[in-house]
């Protein structure tokens, strides 16, 4: 019964909404004004929702039947097949009352409400209301436009013309990256003048990173007024037609923006009357010929003949369902809501873990063993369900990288054209998915890298030919999943990074001392490009900015707890590899113990865990290092940098070293124990503790145990910039308070 109650309350709410919309509509109709089409749309949606609810609640009453028929009527009203007059409104109001009685009957469960008489009257309304004949108001309209309008849009267009409004085509061009904002602003501005009928993307792309849109606006204002009101960069207003019969066809359409008329729409209409040659300044806005023969009006707009016969209703329903389904295919969700859900799942994980540990600590008496086993089975099932829930929510956040790659393809085209280099972009793995948040943050970084690759990396075609390479350069953009991470590679076949040059510039500009420069390995030298403000150019290149490129890239990637690696062969090219976690909301953590304290290390910055024998550790200028596959790995002891009271260190015992990486750096964290991996929800430490270096947050690890999450980025930075690893970085702190 509780389900049913929920349904009742929800349905009541919706019916109230419907009633409000009808009241507003009635006010307009009574006043003889043009009603807001949005209200009718809202009423239609409300009834549709009730229909959905009724079908789910599978009530035996007439709710479903009523809402279904009412929906059809409202759809007809919405599309102008039926006139919205006071009679129709009376009937609609009666339906509200009828809904109320049906719901009451649902609650009581006995009284039967007969909806048939009402339905009969509703059907009569449908028959009586012969809709306005499908006339030729739109004859002036270009077929290519008419063809792409939906039935509803077409109706609104007609309606606007009938109301004596002029139809304007507002042509606007938006920056690809800011189109949502731009479009919304424009829409708001236009709403002040009339009704925005539809948006048509335009194919005449003049630039790679811009999108051209045509917006159809019905308005009573003059073109000058609108042009002044919506004036903005790249916005032009064109008069298209409308203003029935005695329209001021004498006024020639003109253009405000100074831009030449966006030459006729892609598909030039076959109709000779609009042939551009006849009127050079106007392609579409042929004044409406008052009595032209009905040309190509879509059959659906002439229901007048069909309505009274009521033929094959089933067909109509099918069509309705189809169009409505497409409306509700996707849902836009605020990322924060997903975060909240994610948090809940995390908490659920903890509860599950807690139950498990309680179960384990239960005394195992012989006869209870069976129950315990049953409970354990259930717990395992629960575990699987929670995992499913978690990955389900994660999947919702996932978007394919292709979105960003497409943008980058345009960047490549533009930058290579500007720099007169011939560059081909090869994309693989565009369907690799990443957390929406990460993809957003990543696009700037990738753009910088691509620009750098073309601007600094690529030779000119002549140089390339001289070097025996193909004239066209090649940039590979690859994405692939590797375990729990996604790797994105940007590889060019250009001149590569001249590490000696980088080193010399680094010394010259004071990024490293002369001595440091002398001892630099190629890898260290190349890593200088990630330093803030580093640039080898004498003057800032217009394309790649002022040496802010690579350090921005590094900062962005570090923020996403990603890593960046660079490898370069002189003359052969450069490869950047970005490794990113798949998501940030719930992270996998490695649980470690140091001096009896437990910490979590984000697994996405852990490269591997190794065991080191004490004799393998050597000291270089007071820094402990081990050599790992030919690479020197600096060690830091967690207990020392955190000043934890160490327990008797077992001499000669093996040491656990967690190798962590950040951007291009690698550091080994020496810990006492590795306690395994866990999925954890990160919680903020709050403002007060945000200043503590080396800590990224806290998390709960079963049994109400709060554990700190290490900030690998800060620890690595400390190890690299700071002195020896056992230096007590914060010696003074404890005596301040």
């Amino acid at each position: 019964m509780s389900e049913s109650n929920e349904f009742i309350s929800e349905a009541q709410e919706i019916i109230e909404g419907l009633s409000r919309d009808l009241l507003d509509l009635e006010r307009s109709v009574r006043a003889g004004e043009d009603f807001d089409p949005e209200l009718l749309n809202a009423a239609f949606r409300h009834v549709h929702t009730i229909k959905g609810l009724a079908s789910m609640a599978s009530s035996g009453t007439g709710l479903g039947e009523l809402s279904h028929n009412l929906e059809n009527t409202l759809d007809a009203l919405r599309l102008g097949k039926l006139p919205l007059d006071l009679d129709a409104l009376d009937l609609l109001f009666e339906s509200v009352e009828l809904f109320g009685r049906l719901l009451a009957a649902e609650v009581d469960g006995d009284e039967k409400v007969d909806v048939q008489p009402f339905l009969a009257r509703l059907a009569k309304l449908g028959k009586s209301g012969a809709a306005s004949s499908a006339s030729d108001e739109l004859a002036w309209l270009d077929d290519s436009i008419l063809g792409v309008l939906t039935e509803y849009e077409e109706h609104r267009l007609r309606e606007n013309v009938k109301q004596g409004r002029t139809i304007f085509r507002v042509h606007a061009s938006f920056d690809l990256l800011a189109i949502d904002v731009g479009l919304e602003t424009l829409k708001q501005k236009m709403k002040a003048y009339g009704e925005v009928i539809t948006y048509l993307p335009s194919a005449d792309a003049s630039a790679d990173d811009r999108i051209e849109m045509d917006v159809l606006l019905g308005s009573k204002a003059t073109m000058a007024e609108i042009a002044a009101g919506v004036a903005d960069d790249g916005v032009t207003v064109h008069e298209m037609g409308g203003r029935t019969s005695k329209s001021r066809s004498s006024i020639p359409p003109s253009y405000s923006g100074g831009e030449p008329p966006a030459s006729s729409r892609p598909a030039t209409p076959p109709r000779p009357s609009t042939a551009p040659s006849s009127r050079p300044s106007s392609a579409p806005p042929e004044p409406p010929p008052p009595s032209s023969p009905t040309p190509s009006v879509k059959p659906s707009t002439s229901p007048a003949s069909r309505a009274p016969v009521e033929p094959e209703p089933d067909h109509e329903h099918e069509a309705d369902d189809l169009s409505l389904r497409s409306l509700s295919q996707t849902v836009r969700v605020d990322l924060r809501r997903l975060d909240a859900l994610m948090n809940l799942v995390g908490e659920l994980n903890i509860v599950q873990a807690n139950i498990g540990s309680i179960l384990e600590s239960l005394p195992t008496e012989e006869r209870r063993r069976e129950h315990v086993r049953g409970l354990q089975d259930q717990l395992r099932t629960m575990r699987r369900r929670i995992d499913g829930l978690q990955s389900g929510i994660l999947e919702v956040r996932m978007v394919p990288l292709g979105q960003v790659f497409d943008k980058l393809a345009r960047v490549v085209r533009k930058v290579s054209r500007d720099s007169q280099k011939d560059v081909r972009l090869h994309i693989t793995g565009a369907d690799t998915e990443l957390d929406k948040l990460i993809v957003e943050e990543l696009s700037d970084a990738l753009m910088h890298m691509i620009r750098n690759a073309i601007d600094h990396g690529m030779e000119t075609p002549d140089e390339r030919v001289a070097l025996g390479k193909q004239a066209a350069g090649r940039i590979d953009l690859r994405a692939y999943q590797k375990g729990n991470r996604v790797v994105i590679e940007v590889e060019d076949d250009g001149r590569g990074i001249d590490w000696e040059h980088i080193r010399d510039v680094g010394v010259e500009r004071g990024f490293v001392t002369r001595e440091q420069g002398r001892d630099m390995t190629p890898r260290q030298a190349i890593n200088l490009i990630f330093e803030a403000g580093f640039s080898t150019r004498d003057r800032a290149s217009e394309l790649s900015g002022r040496g802010v490129g690579m350090d921005v890239v590094k900062t962005n990637i570090t923020k996403l707890s990603g890593m960046i690696d660079v490898a370069s062969k002189p003359g052969r090219g450069t490869r950047f590899a970005i490794t990113l976690p798949v998501t940030l909301a719930i992270i996998q953590a490695l649980v470690i113990e140091s001096a009896k304290e437990i910490f979590c290390v984000p697994l996405n910055s852990v490269l591997e865990s190794i065991m080191v024998q004490p004799h393998e550790i050597v000291t270089v200028e007071g820094h402990e290092v081990v050599s790992l596959r030919g690479r020197t790995l600096p060690l830091i002891h967690l207990s020392r940098i955190f000043e934890l009271e160490t327990v008797e260190s077992k001499a000669n015992a093996n040491l656990y070293v967690v190798v962590v990486g950040l951007a291009q750096h690698r550091v080994g964290l020496v810990v006492d124990e590795l306690l395994g991996q866990r999925d954890v929800v990160i919680k903020s430490l709050g403002k007060a503790l945000s200043a503590v270096p080396g800590l990224a947050g806290a998390t709960e690890l079963g049994a109400n145990r709060t554990v700190l999450l290490l900030d690998v980025a800060a620890l690595v930075a400390e190890a690299i910039s700071g002195g020896s690893e056992d230096e007590h970085l914060l010696r003074g702190v404890n005596h301040v308070g």
Partner: protein, 194 residues
């Protein structure tokens, strides 16, 4: 006899809430004493032998001491972080913070969970006393002449009967961030000089 006693108790009760009994004048001219709206209520508590107070609207709840996790690189008064119903917050040993030695953590010790600047903090105190309304005239703002080391933490001194209530300034008490940053800066400077 018992009536008189009751009266006295009532008198006391009214005194302690800052109200006064109606006077003859009140009866003559009608009961015109409006309920005072400028009284602020304070939660009072002991630290050592002194009575401290915090405005009640700053306090989210009063809890018994709970398990905390040590946070390295923080001042001594910061015992660690604790988790109260899913919210992680710093736990501060208030006596240590006020430079009065560590909290004893007896059976009477309590944790005041306060909200300041949108975030929660837990303050450990020796014993919670009562909720007390204080009128502005009973409060001495920024009292001079207290040369003690904890003057910076004192927002005002309240007088309730003959007892002094030290009203704390949460802004300074909870200013942990700057202490941590100061410590870091000092450390860095020390390292450069050394």
């Amino acid at each position: 006899m018992s009536d008189e006693r009751q009266n006295r108790d009532l008198w006391q009760a009214l005194l302690s809430t800052g109200h006064e009994l109606a006077t003859e004048a009140d009866y003559e001219h009608g009961y015109r004493r409006e309920i005072r709206s400028d009284l602020r209520r304070y939660v009072t508590f002991y630290i050592g032998k002194e009575v401290y107070g915090l405005p009640i609207d700053a306090i989210v709840e009063i809890a018994k001491p709970f398990a905390t996790t040590l946070v390295p690189r923080t001042p001594e008064f910061l015992i660690g972080i604790g988790n109260v119903r899913g919210l992680v917050m710093p736990v501060i040993d208030l006596p240590t913070r006020l430079r009065m030695g560590r909290a004893e953590l007896s059976a009477e010790a309590r944790v005041l969970i306060v909200r300041h600047d949108g975030e929660n903090y837990a303050l450990i105190v020796d014993r919670v006393l009562e909720v007390l309304p204080l009128a502005p005239e009973d409060l001495e703002e920024a009292p001079g002449g207290i040369g003690s080391s904890k003057a910076e933490f004192i927002a005002a001194i309240g007088r309730d009967k003959k007892r002094l209530i030290i009203v704390l300034d949460l802004e300074t008490v909870l200013d942990i961030e700057s202490i941590i940053r100061d410590g870091l800066r000092r450390e860095k400077a020390g390292r450069l000089n050394g």
